[in-house]
Amino acid sequence: MIADFFFVLFAVMAIGGAISMVLARNPVASLLYLVVAFFALSGTFVLLDAHFIAAVNLIVYAGAIMVLFLFVIMLLNLGRSEKVDLRGPLNRIVAITVAGAFFALLFVALSAGSQTEMAGGMGQATVDAMLQSRGAVGVVADPMFRSYLVPFEITSLLLLAAIVGAIVLARRRAP
């Protein structure tokens, strides 16, 4: 199955990118590994028939937000490899234990959820028919501008507040 092959490829890319991001010394390298992980996640979204989400993920996340991070790294002149800033051995054990416990918790919760919900959910045929009739954009736009119009408008307020907040916080103090 070609889809299975691509899924394994994207999963390996995503996990490899994420682990490399955590372990990389140079913040710029870390950021580029994260872009690799986001790219692979977008591929996974395509495999799950969420084409529009995949495109927006690439443009907004891997494009815009990552460029914002890169811009700040360059602005603060942090783009050089320094001594690795991983925490000490005790903290490492704690971090890996917490992450492992989190993974176990999520694994149990998600596998229980997938078994109960997938059984009663709509099948691949329904998803295909929906994409066929409304298109990849219409499938998302239809509920967004009908059922979720007010949350959508509130999102614009949130973004406005974030713009104002970012300008106020990063502004140089008046002399």
Partner: protein, 99 residues
């Protein structure tokens, strides 16, 4: 086992890696990147469940992205403001509010 189930495992794994990164690193910007990774892992979960529970879940992916963009803008502005004072981005040294 199908792609949906493996995608859920993948998202749990990415979330756990993000958690480990937040706890392991001291560089504030890399901690932020780990948070973005965790948000995207949640997006993957939402997309998987949108196939079985209704396509509206993909709208929530949009809201997550909008909140992530706002969070990144404000967070990076805070990091720039702190950097102006201390000339570093090591979270262990920002201990003014620590008990």
């Amino acid at each position: 086992m199908n792609i949906e189930t493996y995608s859920l495992i993948l998202s749990a794994l990415l979330f756990a890696i993000g958690t480990a990164g937040v706890l392991l690193r001291r560089n504030a910007i890399i901690i932020f990147m780990c948070i973005e990774l965790m948000l995207n892992a949640v997006n993957l979960t939402l997309v998987v469940f949108s196939r079985s529970l209704g396509i509206e879940a993909q709208v929530f992916v949009f809201f997550v992205m909008a909140v992530a963009a706002a969070e990144a803008a404000v967070g990076l502005a805070i990091i720039i403001a702190i950097f102006r004072h201390y000339e570093l981005v090591d979270v262990d040294r920002f201990n003014l509010l620590k008990w």
